[in-house]
Symmetry: D2
Subunit: 349 residues, 4 copies
Amino acid sequence: MTAPFDVLRVGYAELFVTDLAASKAFYEGVLGLYVTYEDDSSIHLRGFEEYLYHSLVLKKGPEAALGALAYRVRSNEEVKLATEYFKNLGCRIEVRKSGATRGIGDAVRVEDPLGFPIEFFYEADHVERFTQRYDLHGAGAITRLDHFNIMTPDVPLAQKYYEGLGFRVSEDIRDKEGTVFASWLFRKPTVHDIALTGGDGPRMHHIAFNTHEQHHILYICDRLGAFRQSDRIERGPGRHGVSNAFYLYLRDPDGHRIEIYTQDYYTGDPDNPLISWDVHDNQRRDWWGNPVVPSWYNEGSKVLDLDGKPKSLVARTETAESTVTIGADGFSYTREGDPMPEYKLGHQV
Amino acid sequence: MTAPFDVLRVGYAELFVTDLAASKAFYEGVLGLYVTYEDDSSIHLRGFEEYLYHSLVLKKGPEAALGALAYRVRSNEEVKLATEYFKNLGCRIEVRKSGATRGIGDAVRVEDPLGFPIEFFYEADHVERFTQRYDLHGAGAITRLDHFNIMTPDVPLAQKYYEGLGFRVSEDIRDKEGTVFASWLFRKPTVHDIALTGGDGPRMHHIAFNTHEQHHILYICDRLGAFRQSDRIERGPGRHGVSNAFYLYLRDPDGHRIEIYTQDYYTGDPDNPLISWDVHDNQRRDWWGNPVVPSWYNEGSKVLDLDGKPKSLVARTETAESTVTIGADGFSYTREGDPMPEYKLGHQV
Amino acid sequence: MTAPFDVLRVGYAELFVTDLAASKAFYEGVLGLYVTYEDDSSIHLRGFEEYLYHSLVLKKGPEAALGALAYRVRSNEEVKLATEYFKNLGCRIEVRKSGATRGIGDAVRVEDPLGFPIEFFYEADHVERFTQRYDLHGAGAITRLDHFNIMTPDVPLAQKYYEGLGFRVSEDIRDKEGTVFASWLFRKPTVHDIALTGGDGPRMHHIAFNTHEQHHILYICDRLGAFRQSDRIERGPGRHGVSNAFYLYLRDPDGHRIEIYTQDYYTGDPDNPLISWDVHDNQRRDWWGNPVVPSWYNEGSKVLDLDGKPKSLVARTETAESTVTIGADGFSYTREGDPMPEYKLGHQV
Amino acid sequence: MTAPFDVLRVGYAELFVTDLAASKAFYEGVLGLYVTYEDDSSIHLRGFEEYLYHSLVLKKGPEAALGALAYRVRSNEEVKLATEYFKNLGCRIEVRKSGATRGIGDAVRVEDPLGFPIEFFYEADHVERFTQRYDLHGAGAITRLDHFNIMTPDVPLAQKYYEGLGFRVSEDIRDKEGTVFASWLFRKPTVHDIALTGGDGPRMHHIAFNTHEQHHILYICDRLGAFRQSDRIERGPGRHGVSNAFYLYLRDPDGHRIEIYTQDYYTGDPDNPLISWDVHDNQRRDWWGNPVVPSWYNEGSKVLDLDGKPKSLVARTETAESTVTIGADGFSYTREGDPMPEYKLGHQV
């Protein structure tokens, strides 16, 4: 299948935050992202292997929300192809001249069929790549943006839409009746650029940054303890079942969820095998069987439309992953075929 | 204060298990301890930096229980001094000739004033120290036994008893009213050889082994996932508040709790500062604020008397740490002075 | 520029070795690669994230030599395009039916313009991907083949040839007079699939495998010490200047050079910045300034033609990197502009 | 054997440096030691697990030299016993009142029988122990001073002297004819507090600091690369044969040698086995067989007498380790019994 335009990878996220100073203390002070630029209304940040102007833009706003998720495409020509594509789909479109976002060239923003504000761009100002500026590496030693994760009510529908953009599925979570609870798709040859999490949507579930080693992630936790901000740790650190990556989920000062993620695998060949996980497999989301906390299933960031107004939510109508795996009639197993006790967290209280 | 006899450090634990093959699969197959000797009734194991015959003896028994916790003393003369000391205390005593435990020389076992079966020995057969046998290191790369942790109803009383043996306190957990919930004491210059956990006792809470690096502990978790035994992970991995060590708690096939532990600090100077933690500090047991699961507070291994009969339990009469920190009227804080919500696990369900 | 056919990435190397048992002890026993298949004449091996039949084939032969370097292309159609391409170049060609190499489908081998035996294939048998078989991971925990490195007399010529195949340059080493000493090119978005090292050629310099973390590489060294085979370590471990990867060079029992390599960076965007290193920069090949040993510059594996006969060598006519950086009139600097002493190794003897 | 007074462990080193700003940039800026105090004439530094005022004092002086190596003893009473002991030996003595060194209580300095300026103290000001101040940990994450290493012509004589102070030998390097080339002795239960390196003396070979993990040491190298100071790396990183520790040797701006060291083993039991290494074993000093550079064997810091005058050197009369292992008639083996080629460095040039 040919893609209608050539998406390279995740490019950057634009998040609205209510207190820039608090956000800076978190993203620069705790995680160790580098500030490319800041003024009274925004902060532009990047990881140490990134040479584009930013992979995260924080904008001061009246409430926490997602402004846009931006994908990088292969050329300015592809930006135009994207514009045509979404016009033909009947989506609302905003053509953005170079500089509409500081550091970014000509771009298009769309309200995509799933209700998300999505940007496509190619040109971006180059800045110093700090790969070997070990004098500046610190804290999390975050290398680069890795992926986005969004909440959407109908996962198969959303997957079909993304496959239409040329993304391929690497892994998913299903039950035997055919319900799909979540799906992971990629353009760059990693497990994902975008994950689709079944839930009321459109909401942003999280954005994820990459590090080189596991100890970098442990050190972020240690630092949060030292700052007496351990309550920013929502889930993990742990090993994912899906993707096999080592992970940590944090909540920023506005509640936006940030994942730190390392060591998934190469997916770039056309015959890369799809991995399907049973929703009742208690190692699917944490290979060590540690419980997924309910907030992780239930909470997400509001999403803005192209006027900057919050999108209203469409409820998921299919079963929620949390309800089929936690408590009441929802159960998981560690060994398939074993009786399914409630999962570890349920047991523990 | 002078010690009545000179304890060097923790020596070995003798655990009764119901299925030697299952235990071997866990201690050798998962953790990577080395088998010094095995027959139909027992397995003797050690870590790769240990040159004494064993630091763990598993004995086949009708039910899971602690047979003995053994301390190494400085010489055979000290074994005799220990014998006299406990005679004078009126404790029940068993003088054990060399070989009573395979690999161990003349020793004495006592039912100590806290109700535990404790052995003191000096002589032990030497075996190859595998420090640089990297061809044999595997899995957890466990270096040595680190400490014992026992459940006892009256922590100040137990602490006084151990101080009487020449142990010194490194850290403890208290509340402002003066209740002591737990206490850590040492002879070798680490945070502890013995930890006292307030609770119905005598019970064994856990024994702990050391590794060199954090990733060795993460790898044990990964392996348990691969063996589909992630349900052996009870708590962690995480960073302790107390001791600052990186930790993991597992349950062996009989439910005995095993900790893997690394990177606490040197305590050997006489003026080593005592660290007291507030029981309401949510980072005291996990520096990252991850919840302590109730089973960790409530469950422990039975303890045998010198006839091999299970000791009956004495209930803790002071408040339990779990009840003052979890749910109902029990609360913790991340930042002292903040309102105290229920701790993370309570929140999450 | 459009590629004449679509190369995905390095696929596998076929090495002739003189003693299969000795090779197996090294590749499986020391490095921890998995044996997919073995018989009296060959061993097929792979890393734990690889699902194709092999990434390394060892064949028993009368002398150590490179049999072929194989690239994977996107489809069988691309194999045909490759065949046409090299026919048109006038290269010698061997069309290989499925199974000509066990596990590999229809393929073509060519003697490329640089004199190397190169294969292009798409189809390959799938085998279990051991990503989460942590029970099997061991030793080096090698994930996958990363790149090839070849010795060729004229680097700019070779670079032009590879750019003609659609490879892009990520880094190179030059002097101010314009001599190019080495060049790194990629198809998959890492620093390289192929590196060109200036020297008498055609010879194979090394093949490289990937791990996730630095400690996996240190552990390989520790194991070699335990096996009393530390003399297999030729250079490193260390941090590369070029690529920023953490590395180790070993020599297998036949003298083939194997690199273990981790943590280079993403190069997949069209504007990925080229990094040019000054040949006199003493941190270019080892970021820590540790000396490159002369054998690393001077030795390489013989290369066979399509009849299995050793290719004769063409001498490099431009200056050698070793002679401009070591001893006599060759010097390096740690800080540009400083006087250039002989490099550290020269100093030390 | 009873010690004449009770040494706990290495306490601190006093080094004269010629440029305090340059030294601070190294010890604080590169290694990440914490400055307890500084003024125009001195800087006091410590590791993050240390609660005494300092473990390193840098004093401005006209030339680089060792001012004193200080051991901590168990009490002020032991300081007096030490004073008596050295008086009886006829050594030159300087009784130092509290504060003679900022932060240190009553102490005695002696010119010991080996010609070194050695201090014994107990009292010291306590400062904050930064164990869990992960917000401050950085760079090398150095935990504490680990040991001293000195060059002395007659190793058996020096060993006898230190054994007389109650130190015990953990490891040594010998040849079959009985020459002792180096010896490691300890009071705290690690491999050493003091190492004796055969050579012209008295000179200081190095002082060593501890970290928790290997990657902390690799990161120091990476940072030195980023600072374009890779020429401060003299030897390593590597794995020691002796001690099994992971190590790195640096030279500070005045040429003082500093080791970063981690993961040796517990030696605290009375029957801790002595390990003797053959001087011809090429893995004794580097388990991976990487060459010891000649400067490491030959260079050391001057040592001052109690008047602050440099001590003159006494030449080693027995064979030097470097001459029996490098070039000419000196050879090493990787596998005992194999022919002994010149060691790797000799080969390489």
